[in-house]
Amino acid sequence: MTRQERAAWLFSAPVLAIIALVFVLPTALAMALSVTDYSIYALADWANLRFVGLGNFIDLFSTPLFWRAIGNTALFALLGVPMAIGASLAVALLLNDATVRWKPLWRVLLFAPYVTSIVATAVVWRFLFNERSGLINRALATVGAAPVDWLGNPHTSIPAILIFVTWKIFGYNMIVFTAALSAVPQDLMEAARLDGADRWGRFRHVTLPAIGPTLLLAAVMSVAGFLQIFAEPYVMTLGGPAQSTTTILYFMFDEGFKWWNLGQASAVAFVLFLMILALTMVQTRIGRRYEWL
């Protein structure tokens, strides 16, 4: 080992040690837990702990609620990612327009929900979604629509929570997109305008390629975020009605922390990890094809 290499190892050693301690070790332990039947009985007496191999996974795949949770989570991600990113991009484009005044003020106002307490905002939104007295249903009534039991109907509960989530998180990606949009080359934009490209054409062929990498990053983060959605259904509906908003993470929380079936919960965590890994790999491949990476 040369002196330089030694120095390099020395400088990275603290970080590597921390990563090993707070990331690698817990992950390995969780994987080890997932092949045991660690439950409340093991908490009572270690002698009750047994190695069960893939038993937890077989159990999991035969539990209807787990499949329900996967379905719910997929629906959250499938609807939520386009909703959240679309909202962020649309608002960022609006704010990026030269005619908009007081831009910093708008940015702060639109970013505010992101940094507000989720429990406090959930209470407000539960009132907004109320079937009888909620503002949303009152607004619908003025255009003659029938009242919707937003959080009480298993078919509307996911869309209702998604509206809340979108409102809560779009500000973050809006800021990221605003930064990316400021880097779109203005000379290209003007050239396209002179060549007669319309608004959509300029967006499609100038703006989009320029913000492509940012868009990909936002998509990767949003997919990972929506697959791990937990707090919103927890505070809005407690996983109901009829377990229609129980997500994978919610299921894992119930199994692990509420009922202390840590073996089973670790198996869920492992499945979720594989799902996110697979999706991220697909997204990376798409990114490579469009030369965004």
Binding site: D37, S39, I40, Y41, L43, A44, A47, N48, D59, S62, T63, P64, V123, R126, F127, N130, E131, L151, G152, P154, M236, T237, L238, G240, P241, A242, Q243, F257, K258, W259, W260
Partner: protein, 425 residues
């Protein structure tokens, strides 16, 4: 070793900065010397937690031991306590809902009661739930059967001076009220609140577990009858299909007449008294819950006091339990939060003679018995999920009951294995 001339040459002279640097050390030393004895830690849920500090000055005055009370939200208490036990961070004294005592005794989180005198003078039947393997693990603190709180004015208008005591009568009364107030509901049965359905199952005589409590036993006519009746209440529009997250303020809803009958426990009296401006005391009263043919046994959320198995100060901890569960403390608590004393001798007090308490007093002698398995808390929720699927027309009753049996068998798999291996009685 290299010698640093700058350090070695000068003697250390006191600058203002170095003196200031010593201040925290002085502070620590002061803490260590002058403090009174370490406070005992006490955890309790809900109103019991919120109001417990008011019972502590008398204890501290008598014994010189301060008490540090932490109030836990009831919805997150179970996981908080399990995590505390796993992490070795249990308080010295804790309140448990009586249905949890079995579980926490099994994981060796709580200590057995050291003297029989502490569990004497109690309402008959309440000790059964806190006895594990022949030993008492908790001192019952309050008994909290559910009764029906009802709106006297709404019932009177429908021709009922008091609510019916049998199921058929309950539905008839419900329809009579619904005819007068078609936009409102009659009963308040939250779809994530299992106590009412568990009571109904007990009343129809359903034995919910079989084979030494190792398998579900829900595909029975008794369970079917309870589910059918429960689902009818919703199908006939007498109760809103709502979770607790949707009825954000049940007291206001009760005051506005959104529903007229509210099966709930004694601490609701505190809510109603506090908000007497919205709902004056003469508008509501209490009665025993209706049963299939007549009033009967009812489940509830009674509370018990336990001492952590790992406390370093068991004698002081039990002294606190003795103080909190004395008839005088329980009576004081009754005036504060409506909790009903578990000590029999407290019931000779005239304070408990109020007519509003009579249904509770009658009901207390008929507690429903729950299966003694540590998975029971979870099974209760699964039963409620099954019922919710029926109410929301996701499944039929036979489908829901069959699914419930499968699910409960799955939850009891570990217990079954331990019972078969002979490790668990």
């Amino acid at each position: 070793m290299r010698h640093d001339p700058a350090m070695g040459a000068q003697p250390h002279d006191w600058t203002r900065r170095s003196a200031l640097g010593l201040l925290p050390t002085l502070g620590l030393a002061a803490c260590a010397r002058s403090r009174a004895p370490e406070p005992l830690k006490f955890w309790a849920m809900s109103y019991e937690g919120d109001y417990s500090p008011m019972l502590m000055p008398a204890f501290t005055a008598a014994t010189g031991i301060p008490v540090d009370v932490q109030s836990l939200p009831a919805t997150a208490a179970h996981e908080k306590l399990l995590t505390a036990q796993a992490g070795g961070a249990m308080p010295d004294v804790l309140m448990l809902y009586t249905g949890w005592v079995q579980e926490f005794a099994t994981i060796a989180a709580i200590a057995p009661v050291p003297s029989l005198a502490m569990v004497a003078d109690l309402f008959p039947g309440v000790l059964d739930a806190t006895r594990v393997g022949g030993r008492d693990f908790a001192v019952p603190w309050s008994v909290a059967p559910q009764v029906q709180f009802y709106r006297r004015d709404i019932l009177a208008r429908a021709g009922y001076p008091e609510p019916a005591g049998d199921w058929d009568g309950w539905l008839r009364m419900g329809h009579a009220i619904k005819r007068q107030r078609p936009d409102d509901f009659v009963f308040m049965l939250l779809l994530n609140w299992p106590d009412m359905l568990i009571t109904m199952l007990g009343q129809t005589g359903a034995t919910m577990l079989r084979d030494h409590d190792t398998r579900g036993n829900f595909q029975t006519p008794e369970a079917g009858a309870a589910f059918t009746y429960y689902a009818r209440i919703f199908a006939e529009g007498l109760a809103p299909k709502a979770l607790s997250t949707e009825i954000q303020d049940p007291v206001a809803a009760f005051a506005q007449g959104y529903f007229a009958i509210w099966p709930t426990g004694p601490t609701t009296m505190l809510d109603l008294h506090r908000r007497a401006a919205e709902i004056p005391a003469e508008r509501w009263a209490t009665a025993r819950l209706a049963g299939p043919h007549d009033v009967g046994a009812v489940s509830g959320l009674s509370t018990s006091l336990c001492v952590s198995a790992s406390t370093p100060r068991p004698a002081e901890a039990w002294a606190l339990v003795r103080h909190l569960s004395s008839p005088a403390s329980e009576l004081r608590y009754q005036t504060m939060i409506g909790n009903l004393p578990a000590r029999l001798s407290a019931w000779t007090s005239p304070q408990l003679g109020a007519p509003i308490l009579a249904p509770f007093k009658a009901q207390m002698r008929f507690p429903a018995t729950a299966p003694k398995v540590i998975e029971w808390e979870r099974i209760k929720l699964e039963i409620q999920f099954a019922a919710e699927r029926v109410v929301r027309n996701v499944q039929t009753i036979p489908q829901a009951l069959a699914g419930l049996d499968t699910r409960v068998d799955q939850l009891l798999a570990k217990r079954r294995a331990l019972v078969e291996a002979g490790t668990l009685a």
